[in-house]
């Protein structure tokens, strides 16, 4: 008897790679992408061991399209990503679809990898793209079983290792499991330092026309903690001038840009490590500089407001997350990618911040807004990519707030009717092709 078990199926399909979790669960599949341990800067090659492996936490993303955007999102630094949609790589890799200069995730885990992708914009296939960046992948995995495992046990650490020989031996697998137990936690790593790259933050906007360049006299400083290109594009497309600054920048550097507003970008890792950036946010608040926090930037604002952060069980990663804007009652479908949250109830009233957005599924905090100062933040990704472009209005509200100082709360509070009107009169996402 061969069996329906994971191991058995591994044998049946001639698996040559395996993902071993800290809790002993093992998934098998086929290697793709890069497996040369020298290629990846963070690869830990156990001297003498013939099995290359990579390590990290494993999270799942439920987006049905946009694998390239996910792979190149700097917020995935330190993580292996399982894509729950089973057919991946269908339309290859396309020049302008990357969200940063290179893929950042530690490994990609998929069910089926397209043998013959096809698209008029395709420049190469996904496996080749990852290979070039030194990133390994595994396909043929029962990704649904894996997702259910993560849902039940929370985000887990794992190592992805290459098998050789015909059968994985218990010893081999056991060694991988013990390696998984030694993988450093996200919170113990300074991941932002890896990905912050103000010089490479700007993205070309050829695909996007400047729909309403009415913010052409506005200069925005962006604190780059691992920014996605579409945040930059969303500003540029509206005519705003951008200055990208390192996450280590101090108040003087920021003020020297003479920007009228500051954005704290998304980025990887634990916000609790970001005290320096939170301090910068406090200083800017004190000076009443208009602020927008996105994702990690939102958590930073939460810390600056005196709140605390903590880990979600298995994070929010996908393009279908419903968020209710409590200032208008409207529900928005959002793109999300975060492990950490600002704790509900941790924001002192005295800070002036209130919870402006709530996740409809688990009531977690999705946004903060200041009642008197021009500052607000969103936990989700208003720039989408991948995911809905419905939330580009966040950039509009921010730029409006910069132009005509009102409080963060008031900036968001524009009535749903006028918002709908705006959505009709202007392209809703600013991403109309040329």
């Amino acid at each position: 008897m061969i069996g329906n078990s994971s191991e058995a199926m591994a044998l049946l399909s001639g698996a040559d790679a395996c993902l071993a979790f800290e809790d002993g669960r093992v998934f098998y599949g086929h290697a793709f992408g890069a497996w040369n341990p020298d290629q990846h800067p963070l690869d830990v090659n156990e001297g003498g061991d013939r099995h290359a492996f990579v390590q990290g936490e494993v999270v799942f993303n439920t987006s049905m399209a946009g694998y390239q955007e996910i792979a190149t999102d700097p917020s995935y630094r330190g993580q292996m990503v399982v894509l729950t949609y089973p057919q991946i790589g269908n339309y290859g890799i396309q020049g302008e679809a990357s969200e940063s200069t290179c893929p950042w995730l530690t490994a990609l885990i998929v069910r089926d990898l397209a043998r013959a992708p096809n698209h008029w914009l395709m420049t190469e296939d996904l496996s080749h793209f990852l290979s070039e960046a030194g990133i390994p992948g595994i396909h043929g995995v029962d990704t649904r079983a894996l997702t259910r495992h993560l849902r039940a046990h929370g985000t887990l650490r794992a190592v992805l290792g290459r098998l050789d020989g015909d059968q994985p031996t218990a010893e081999q697998v056991g060694r991988l499991v013990s390696l998984a137990r030694a993988v450093p936690a996200l919170s113990d790593q300074n991941l932002v330092a890896d990905v912050s790259n103000p010089a490479g933050a700007y993205a070309p906007t050829e695909r996007w026309v400047e729909t309403v360049a009415r913010y052409s006299s506005t200069r925005i400083a962006v604190i780059d903690c691992g920014i996605k290109h579409n945040i930059a594009r969303s500003l540029t497309a509206r005519g705003a001038e951008t200055r990208f600054l390192s996450w280590t920048s101090g108040i003087d550097e920021v003020m020297a840009t003479e920007a009228q507003g500051v954005i704290f970008s998304n980025g990887p890792g634990d916000p609790a490590r970001m005290h320096q950036v939170a301090q910068l946010a406090s200083q800017l608040l004190d000076r009443e500089v208009p602020l927008l926090g996105i994702c990690l930037g939102h958590q930073v604002l939460g810390l600056a407001a005196g709140g605390s952060t903590s880990r979600l069980g298995y994070g929010h990663h996908g393009g279908n997350h419903p968020v209710q804007d409590v200032t208008t009652g409207r529900v928005h479908i959002t793109t999300q990618n975060h492990e950490f949250q600002v704790d509900r109830g941790s924001i002192p009233d005295s800070s002036g911040f209130g919870v402006s957005m709530v996740h409809l599924n688990d009531s977690s905090v999705e946004g903060l807004a200041h009642r008197s100062l021009p500052a607000f933040s969103v936990q989700f990704h208003p720039e989408g990519c991948p995911g809905p472009q419905d939330n580009q209005y966040i950039f509009e509200r921010f730029l409006d707030m910069v132009d005509r100082p009102v409080s963060g709360w008031e900036a968001l509070e524009r009535s749903p009717a006028s918002a709908a009107q705006a959505d009709l009169s202007e392209p809703p996402h600013g991403l109309i092709q040329a």
């Binding site: 049946l12 390239q68 729950t84 089973p86 008029w120 649904r144 996908g318 809905p388 709908a420």
Partner: protein, 1092 residues
């Protein structure tokens, strides 16, 4: 915010026709349930009795009445609803709502349109308004303009740019349309189009053929929150109606940028339209740029929304109904997760493939080309974790004679060595065989680039078909190893396919799988890609590692559904499957439903304890049974119910029995007895019941003496029939030779049955037998004489004009048959009463298509009763007497409805081969109004005055005389063909025009119809064996009537009842909830269960 309504009227979609099928029963039923949950008094009207929505307990008041303005107005006057929900009854419901509003009826009674504003309904219908609206919000629509001359067309084309498509105005199914890729081609096409258009007009439009076709299902609430439930991509590019396209969900070849670009446009459009509820938006996307156009918007639930609901688990109709009465998306709970709300977008972690089911297996002469006119009657859906597997499962689900993707037409292989012309021809022009032709081309080494060039299909999809073909080759050439077998199963190959390719029997492949423990796992459809723990009992199979469907605690029973809607197996069987599942639940038995049809109520995951969305073949059912068995063996598997899923389910009895499955109710022996000609004949003789003389033959040599012995005309048909497939009345030895030769070519296993054709009165009963008693809820008589397929006949309850002794004979026969065959459960018997003698024509050991009709008119819940009998509860236990149930003092008429207008070159002539796609019911206190309502609902009623064209075969002339006199007496002006005109004039009745034959100049018969001179046609013929020119003229007459959309009566019996209805009374009828017609409460007749 407008006040919440208290009383809401829901309009159904009427009979099943091509383009409007069971999806609206699913939508309407869900909506009624959703409204009643909100405490709203719900009123439903539909003319289709075969639906779940017209069950008395679906709404607070259920009307089965014709869907015409007058009737709806009377319902509104009687019920005074303050809201009308028009978006759930397809185009029919929408059109009626617009008519009601425009006639001022809604205003008069203070009834508000819910969900979608009237202006939007108009905008979506009026091409020009729609175009302007979209342009005003910056959404692109394909450029077009009308032209009345070729020169105008050329000017328009220059403005738009080549290529263009030419659509003649007001021709059926776009007849005469075509392309203008160059000016020369345009001139030719436009010329033809202008000639063919009755108003000499063509639309010249930018051609988007070959572009990707993508649709989005969007939902918006009254607070302007929007979600897209699903996007779907057509495998077939633009040029094929989406209903006739193979569809994949979610889109496969769109990047996130493209996905979001179209999603944003869809949301913008639903906002501009102000739809509160569901909306379907179709786009054409250039495969080589980001340019797109909006092609179509349906501001209502649709076939696509039903597909999207089943594909995602997001119940669009339910949510739309809640929104229509004022709820916001976040106030509506998500029934799947039970902890999130409807304000989210489903994430799929599987691939869904839909394939249309076309009727060309029945209409071999029909035009198989697929274009912008939908021709399929139904569809199948399959789910798996890869496109390849979902596609192959969907193909198996089609149930076209066990055809897998490996099927090839004989002629393809027979073509001259190396010639692929036949195949490439099928690939270039869309048709029902294109998918198989693509696989065949791939098999012959044709690359995806070339196939893509010919078909416009994305190479991504073609590469997947190529992968399947590569696997075929491996299976053919390599020994079966565990890895190879596992790989093949993961790509959706059936055991049978693997067996064929690796030279094994399917059973050997199955045994090998068992040996290597290669079994399917079952995954849940949960709307959220496993992000949340879900409670949906909705599963599909996949060869993967983790199985999520543990056997149900406490076992249950498995109901095998009826698969795709096709002619001969329609929505009636879904009704039966649904009721069986409900009866199981009521009896505290877990119901496990298996079906492959996304349009239906049976595949609503809410309905059963567990739903498996799977092909209805032996392998899939056995896999499910084993999965539901604690030990994995058949001994512990739940029993199977096969009586309600039509011929699909009953055909599984034999293989399932031999695999060790337990079949509830009638055993295999009883089923065989009913279906095996010789065994059945012997039994009838033993029981002393008559049957038309006949025999089963296997060769022409056997057939000729048999027919000589019993005398012509004879009825010939293959054994094991479905919907009277290929049944014919044969009048001569020559025709018999032709028929038998053709039939034996098709199947050597099953013989051909030859019966004496008795032109008597057809009588039909449905009954339940528990082994001791037989319960007959009612006796139905057909209006059309024997020879017209029972599915195409009008049936009247109670049977009129029968002597009490005839009724008694029906009861006696039925009881003897039920008990004699040893049936347990439901069955159907068809009789012919000929010269005072009752003959048994056919016994079906399963539910028939009249079950919903008879259940609704008599009040006997036949399926429930039969299901309980199968569970071991006798009729006596249930309180039912044996014999004939007391007759309700009402009359109900079931009338067939056809979709001929959608099927070019198909003959509407009624015969032993079934052609109708749906049915309606007319019910009233007496015969005439009931018949009239049936005729109105079936669009068969003639206006009170007008003109008729008669063309009657010589053999029918005597019989036609009283009918001709009747119409003349009503003041009808008569047109007739030569011979018939002579007959009419001989009667002293004037004939307006004696028309010429088709090849004798003008005005001919067809001109008379085309020019609108007549409002109906009576045309009879002696069958396909008629003289060639007679047959051709008759065919053209019938097609012309079909295309002119006027009634064409090919049976004098139908024409007679129409004349009777016109002649009688003032044309008045009642409009009442269906149960108000009952003369007694069914419960009053039931005894206290005899069980103590």
């Amino acid at each position: 915010m407008t006040p919440r309504p208290n009383k809401v009227l829901v309009i159904g979609s009427g009979p099943i026709v091509i383009g409007q099928a069971a999806e609206f029963d699913y939508a309407g039923t869900q909506a009624c349930k959703a409204l009643r949950e909100e405490g709203i008094y719900t009123i439903l009207v539909n003319s289709n009795p075969a639906t779940i929505m017209t069950d008395a307990d679906v709404a607070d008041a259920v009307y089965i009445e014709p869907l015409v303005v007058d009737v709806i107005e009377r319902i509104i006057a009687r019920e005074r609803p303050d809201g009308l929900l028009p978006t759930l009854g397809g185009q029919t419901g929408l059109n009626l709502a617009v008519e009601l509003a425009e006639a001022g009826i809604l205003d008069r009674y203070g009834t508000r349109l819910l969900g979608t504003p009237l202006s939007t309904l108009r905008q979506a219908e009026d091409r020009e308004l729609f175009k302007n609206l979209l342009l005003s919000i910056g959404e692109p629509v394909p450029e077009s303009a009308v032209a009345h001359t070729v020169e105008q067309a050329v000017i328009v084309a220059r403005q738009i740019g080549y290529p263009v498509v030419i659509r003649p105005s007001f021709t059926l199914g776009g007849t005469g349309g075509g392309f203008g890729r160059t000016e020369t081609e345009l001139r030719a096409t436009a010329g033809t189009g202008i000639t063919l258009s009755p108003i000499s007009q063509v639309l010249v439009e930018r051609s988007l053929v070959g572009w990707k076709e993508v649709e989005y299902e969007v939902v918006r609430d009254g607070a302007d929150n929007c979600v897209t439930v699903c996007n779907m991509e057509n495998f077939d590019p633009m040029g094929v109606h989406t209903g006739d396209s193979i569809v994949v969900a979610p889109s496969q070849t769109l990047s996130d940028y493209e996905y979001q670009m179209l999603r944003s446009a869809a949301i913008k459009i639903i906002r501009a339209l102000g739809v509160e509820g569901g909306c379907n938006i179709q786009f054409a996307l250039d495969p080589a740029s980001h340019q797109y156009f909006v092609i179509e918007v349906n501001p209502r639930v649709s076939r696509s929304s039903a597909l999207a609901s089943k594909a995602t688990g997001y119940p669009i109709a339910r949510v739309a109904a809640k929104i229509a009465v004022g709820l916001t998306l976040y106030e509506i709970p998500n029934a799947v997760t039970e902890r999130t709300t409807a304000a989210f977008e489903p994430a799929l972690d599987y691939v869904v493939v839909k394939i249309p089911r076309w009727p060309f297996d029945k209409f071999a002469s029909g035009e198989r080309t697929i274009n912008t006119q939908m021709k399929s009657t139904g569809e199948v859906m399959a789910i798996d974790r890869s496109f390849e597997a979902a596609l192959q499962k969907a193909v198996r689900s089609l149930e076209i004679g066990g055809r897998s993707l490996q099927w090839e037409d004989r002629s393809w292989a027979q073509a001259a060595a190396g010639s692929t012309a036949l195949i490439t021809g099928l690939i270039e022009e869309p048709n029902d065989l294109r998918l198989w032709a693509i696989a065949a081309a791939s098999r012959r080494g044709m690359g995806t680039a070339r196939i893509a060039k010919m078909s416009g299909i994305d190479e991504f999809f073609l590469s997947k078909i190529e992968d399947i073909v590569t696997m075929e080759r491996e299976l053919l050439s390599k020994p079966l190893t565990p890895a190879l077998l596992y790989g093949a199963k993961r790509m959706g190959f059936s055991d049978e396919q693997i067996g064929t390719l690796s030279d094994k029997l399917p059973e050997q492949v199955r045994a090998q799988r068992a040996d290597w423990n290669i079994r399917p796992t079952y995954k849940m459809v949960d709307t959220c890609a496993a992000e949340f723990a879900a409670v949906t009992p909705y599963f599909y199979s996949s060869y993967d590692t983790e199985n999520e469907a543990e056997p149900l605690v406490g076992g249950g029973a498995l109901v095998v559904g009826s698969g795709p809607i096709r002619i001969g197996q329609g929505i009636e069987f879904d009704y039966c499957s649904v009721h069986s599942a409900l009866a199981l639940r009521e009896a505290q038995v877990n119901s496990i439903m298996v079906n492959s049809n996304p349009e239906t109520v049976s595949t609503d995951f809410d309905l059963s304890s567990r739903l498996y969305f799977e092909p209805l073949d032996e392998e899939s059912i056995r896999n499910i049974l084993e999965n539901e068995s604690k030990t994995g063996s058949m001994d512990e598997a739940p029993p199977v119910i096969l009586q309600f899923g039509g011929q699909t389910a009953i055909n599984l009895a034999e293989p399932l029995y031999h695999s060790g499955a337990r079949i509830l109710g009638s055993g295999l022996r009883a089923i065989d007895l009913a279906e095996d000609r010789q065994l059945f004949e012997a039994l009838l003789t033993k029981l002393g019941l008559s049957q038309p003389p006949g025999a089963a033959v296997r060769t022409v040599e056997e057939a000729l003496p048999t027919a000589d012995r019993i005398g012509y005309p004879v009825l010939v048909r293959p054994s094991y029939v479905l919907g009277g497939r290929a049944m014919e009345i044969v009048h001569s030895p020559a025709d018999l030779v032709r028929y038998v030769t053709a039939a034996t070519q098709l199947s050597l296993i099953h013989p051909v049955l030859i019966d004496k054709y008795l032109a008597g009165k057809e009588i039909e009963v449905d009954a339940v037998c528990d082994g001791e008693r037989v319960l007959i809820p009612g006796v139905m008589a057909h209006v059309e004489r024997a020879g017209v397929h029972s599915g195409d006949s009008m049936a009247v309850y109670p049977a009129m004009g029968l002597e009490p002794r005839d009724i008694q004979a029906v009861i006696d026969y039925t009881e003897k048959i039920g008990l004699g065959l040893g049936l347990q459960g439901i069955f159907n018997v068809q009789y012919v009463l000929f010269e005072g003698q009752l003959y048994v024509i056919e016994v079906n050991p399963r539910a028939s298509r009249t079950v919903p009709f008879i259940s609704k008119v008599t009040g006997v819940p036949l399926v429930t009763v039969a299901t309980r009998v199968m569970l071991g509860e006798s009729l006596a236990d249930q309180g039912y007497p044996g014999g004939l149930w007391p007759t309700q003092n009402l009359v109900a008429v079931k009338a067939p409805v056809f979709s001929m207008a959608k099927l070019p070159r198909v003959d509407s002539y009624l015969g032993p081969e079934m052609k109708s796609t749906g049915e309606v019911m007319g019910i009233d206190r007496t015969y005439r109004p009931a018949m009239m309502k049936a005729l109105i609902a079936a669009s068969l009623m003639l206006p009170p005055q007008g003109a008729l064209l008669f063309s009657v075969a010589d053999a029918d002339k005597t019989e036609a005389i009283p009918i001709i006199r009747a119409f003349a007496g009503l003041g009808y002006r008569l047109y007739a063909t030569e011979g018939t005109a002579a007959l009419i004039e001989a009667l002293g009745v004037p004939v307006v025009m004696s028309t010429k034959k088709l090849d004798e100049g003008h005005p001919n018969v067809v001109d008379v119809i085309n020019e609108g001179l007549v409002q109906g046609v009576v045309n009879t013929m002696v069958g396909p064996s008629a003289r060639r020119d007679q047959f051709r003229d008759g065919f053209e007459i019938r097609r012309a009537a079909t295309e002119k959309r006027i009634p064409c009566f090919t049976s004098l019996d139908t024409a007679r009842v129409v004349a009777e209805c016109l002649a009688s009374g003032d044309g008045s009828y009642e409009v009442l909830p269906v149960t108000s017609y009952w003369s007694f409460d069914p419960r009053s007749v039931m005894s206290t269960p005899e069980r103590s």
